[in-house]
Amino acid sequence: MRNTLDSITRNLWHVVAATDELPIGLVETTTLLDTPLALTRGLDGEPVVWLRRDEEQGEEIDAETVLERLPVKTAYGYTWTCLGSPPAELFPIPEFAEPDRVNMSCGSIGIHVSAPRAVENFLDMGHFPYVHTDILGSEPHTEVKEYDVEVSEERDEVLATRCRFIQPRAAKSATKPMEVEYVYRVPHPFCSVLYKSCPEDETRQDVIGLFLQPVSEERCRAHLLQSMIDSTSTITDLRRFQQTIFGQDKPILENQYPKKLPLDPRAETPIRADKSAIAYRRWLSQKGITYGVIPQAS
């Protein structure tokens, strides 16, 4: 199983928890890249992550007694770690720091599918009217209009722009149907960030992050970030909206076969609306990612 863990994946920062949800002084357990991990937070609130031995979930622990630690980064409300040698920086989401934004985790949810399949579903607009009926789409407005995709050499990320879709209820703050414009970034092989027109302020964009924790090649945990311009909704309301959407995607994702993402262009039949998925698959291939994918035959 472990032999497919490529060095690119091994050396990435991977999300493992919403930092605020990690208990101080108690052990939390999780799995990353088939490797059992233990996590906690110290009295200073800082997360500590290490390779799990016989620690059990909920056990008391003093973070200061943990000496052999994995690297940790906290960013966007989440705790990130690495099993190899991580880069200095994680991808930027500058909007997160804007003072009037409501930033929140929306829960970390286990899905029985590979992380790249979950990224690809996030990029897809074609399913909106059928899976997110009367929220993110509705018949007969099913057309995915022409949009642009590029791989930014400078930032090493896939970028899809000019994505437009008629949405009955684009966000919690939406009161009427609107044509919504999306920008998708894939700045990390297992993370995507979406910018969409904000119903409350047409000059700005709501930001939704989908950060996937690859548990195994065929399982992941989806960590959802919302960074919203919304002066009226509560955090509970905003979480509920996003969880409703995600709960609709989940059974669709879990029924995808194979669970790993095939990178051979002939393995599945894309349509024009899948341009961003094609670019994403090619980008993973060129990077040499083999974990959670079925690599192209050489």
Partner: protein
């Protein structure tokens, strides 16, 4: 009357009440509860509503009720003028309550497996899955013999009851707990019939049935 449902979208137990109120055409307001990740159902404010710390809670004017099965019975008795959803006849009432108990067993097996796999609850997934398969097999047989005898629903009457509503959600969400319904054809046909009840609504994770075959 003003009905308020303390609700979590991804909860099958909350959905049971949304479903019956939709079928009965009973209007209600929702107070969202941050069950996950906020664990608001364990907060002091929520424990004052339900000391057991469980969703759903329903308020009807000054009355505060908890437990989805009990609330289904309350709603049916109070708002279903036809008396069909929670029948009075002693033998039928006993059947309905019997299936409400099965619904709780489905919650402690199929729903528990889903909580473990999706929401990181520390449950024994294999044991939960095994328990759910045992129940699904029994329901499938019950429904298969029912179909042969001309019975479409869990209980004897020729119409659905709260028993069908109580058992439906966590059967439909079972795949999220890694429990396939592939081997239970009569069970699957029954889920289609439930999904064609007039007034049926979906929840996240449950999709509408396709159109029924016209004879």
């Amino acid at each position: 009357m003003t009905i308020t449902l303390y609700d979590f979208e991804l909860s099958g137990n909350c959905y049971k009440l949304r479903l019956l109120m939709s079928i009965l055409g009973v209007p209600y307001d929702i107070v969202p509860v941050d069950f996950f990740p906020g664990r608001e159902h364990k907060s002091d404010a929520f424990l004052r509503l339900n000391p057991f710390g469980q969703l759903p809670v329903l308020r009807d004017d000054d009355l505060t009720l908890s437990d989805s099965g009990a609330i289904l019975a309350y709603l049916a008795r109070k708002y279903d003028a036809s008396g069909r959803w929670f029948p009075e006849a002693p033998d039928i009432l006993a059947q309905v309550l019997r299936w409400h108990a099965v619904a709780d067993d489905i919650t402690s097996t199929a729903s528990a497996a889903r909580l473990a796999l999706s929401f990181d609850y520390p449950f024994d997934v294999a044991a939960c899955q095994k328990g759910a398969h045992r129940i699904f097999r029994l329901i499938d047989e019950h429904l298969w013999f029912g179909e042969k005898a001309g019975r479409d629903w869990l209980c004897a009457p020729d119409h659905p009851t709260t028993a069908d509503i109580a058992c439906f959600p966590y059967i439909m969400l079972s795949e999220e707990g890694g429990i396939s319904r592939q081997d239970y054809p009569a069970l699957r046909r029954w889920t289609d019939r439930v999904r064609r009840i007039p007034g049926f609504v979906v929840m996240s994770g449950i999709f509408p049935a396709g159109p029924a075959k016209q004879d």
